[in-house]
């Protein structure tokens, strides 16, 4: 079984991203939306942590949130719109939103 973990809190003052990465299963993926996309900000600890997992981590981002914040995602990250978000929620066995 696979889980899509959805995060929307800024990584700079919040433990959700680090906790999520600790308990992430091999088949799991992360979707960053809202302020969680700030984790892609260059030269930050969050970005370095994610980049270090580029080979093994399936990372998705909600396109509108990245564009709204004028962030440039790295090549290895996949961008989705709302139809893509729905597709991911079908493709993965369950969705765990870190409220």
């Amino acid at each position: 079984m696979s889980t899509l973990h959805v995060l929307s809190h800024s990584p700079f003052a919040d433990s959700r991203l680090s906790s999520c990465l600790r308990v992430l299963g091999h088949e799991d993926a992360i979707l960053l939306c809202g302020d969680a996309v700030y984790a892609l900000t260059p030269a930050t600890a969050a970005r370095q942590t994610l980049d270090a997992k580029a080979d093994s981590l399936q990372l998705f981002i909600l396109d509108e949130d990245v564009k709204a914040r004028n962030l440039t995602p790295p090549d290895w990250v996949r961008s989705v719109d709302y139809p893509g978000f729905v597709e991911l929620s079908v493709q993965f066995d369950k969705v765990n939103t870190w409220l």
Binding site: D93, N96, L99
Partner: protein, 120 residues
């Protein structure tokens, strides 16, 4: 087969209704005899500290409700070892039992076993 649900409670006990409202989901499901589990993660493990005094803050006793989970049919209780250690808590001195203390990789397996998850 009914769908199983894991409730991950990661809010501290005295910061508003979050901890209680996570617990209420579990209690409501237990009343329907549904397959439920509850995992305490991050600040959620602070709910498990012994000898808390709800009366000091004029609150209802959350610990008593947590201890009643098994009576309501929610017997699969888990706590995150890393979260406990981070907060200087001993896995052997928790106010709710029986509770299984899990390592990070075991939590990944736990989430995997359930059909749906709610993380509050």
């Amino acid at each position: 087969m009914p769908h199983s649900l894991l409730i991950i409670s990661r809010q501290p006990p005295w910061s508003g209704p979050n901890a209680r409202e996570a617990l209420d989901i579990a209690l409501a499901g237990g009343a329907f005899d549904l397959p439920l589990g509850m995992l305490f993660l991050d600040d959620g493990v602070l709910q498990l500290l012994p000898l808390q005094s709800a009366a000091q803050l004029q609150q209802k006793d959350l610990t008593a409700n947590l201890q009643a989970l098994s009576m309501f049919g929610v017997e699969d209780l888990f706590a995150c070892h890393t979260s406990l250690v981070e907060r200087g808590m001993s896995p052997n001195e928790l106010s709710v039992e029986p509770i299984q203390v899990l390592r990070d990789h075991e939590i990944a397996e736990l989430i995997d076993r359930y059909d749906q998850v709610i993380t509050i």
